[in-house]
Symmetry: C2
Subunit: 140 residues, 2 copies
DNA sequence: GGCTAAATGCAACATTATTACAATTAGCTC
DNA sequence: GAGCTAATTGTAATAATGTTGCATTTAGCC
């Protein structure tokens, strides 16, 4: 919910401004990754105007607080749907409808770490997106 | 080797042009991800000029033939160092020296597919990068 | 209501990416 | 090796995306 994000913002000493609420509103509604200009466009159709610089800055903030993620493959932004404490976050991206599903799995994470360790590599973060078909689109 | 890539290009009916050789040469030498303009700059210091449009097009082609990869984390391009038949490709990216190590592992791939399957997701591709410290930099 | 730091808007600019079309060239044939 | 042609590259113009410094506005406090 948008309300939760606002609360977290404020708890960290950030203000609950109109532009921030608007951006969170859009990210909360739309499941597909959105670019800053996408967000601007969507708000525009609703008669609300935000400067693109503002949107860039808000998205930076949201990402730094783990309230949003920047998708690596597309560069678009999505609202974070997991608790920050759940471990390394990954994504399933449906090639058909574009919907994102976020998940976390500690076991898989550990296996990957072990795998890398065999090569002498010391892993700090996992960047991982699976692309394919979500259950809905697969049935069709 | 660059020579191998050229052979693959030609086998697929593409011409072995001077610009393509130059781009492959740079990607073959430098281990870190390079943007199109990086490549242009490097060539420039060597007294060779390529138009950026050409470089964009060449990189598209190389990626479509799996002779290069676009890195998720940086958006930069690296030369592919594995055989295309080896399965899904992943990367270890050293945060310190920036070096990329590419690898493939069918078991890990299968586990990830199974994991996604539990959510009803049908995986087609894995995009995966580990960031951390390579063996060299970890020792320091 | 008034104050102040934080946040936004604005303008200008920098960087990165794309398009349409003209010029060039690799690889073929003779 | 000269000539041909489709493929490729270069050019120029433009679009899209991202950044910076500074003036203006506003949320949250008293």
């Amino acid at each position: 919910m948008v309300r939760d994000s606002i609360r977290i913002l404020q708890a960290q000493g950030h203000k609950a401004t109109r532009p921030r609420k608007l951006v969170l509103e859009v990210l909360g509604e739309i499941e597909n990754p959105l670019s800053p200009y996408d967000i601007q466009g969507i708000l525009h159709t609703r008669g609300k105007y935000l400067n693109h610089v503002t949107i860039y800055r808000i998205l930076d903030l949201l990402c730094s607080l783990n309230l949003a993620h920047k998708m690596l493959s597309s560069g678009g932004f999505v609202k974070c749907s997991l608790d920050a404490t759940e471990g390394c976050h990954r994504f399933m991206v449906c090639q058909h409808c574009g919907a994102i599903r976020e998940f976390a799995d500690k076991e898989l994470c550990q296996e990957e770490n072990d795998f890398a360790q065999n090569f002498g590599f010391h892993t700090e973060h996992h960047l991982s997106e699976f692309s394919g078909l979500c259950s809905r689109c697969y049935k069709k």
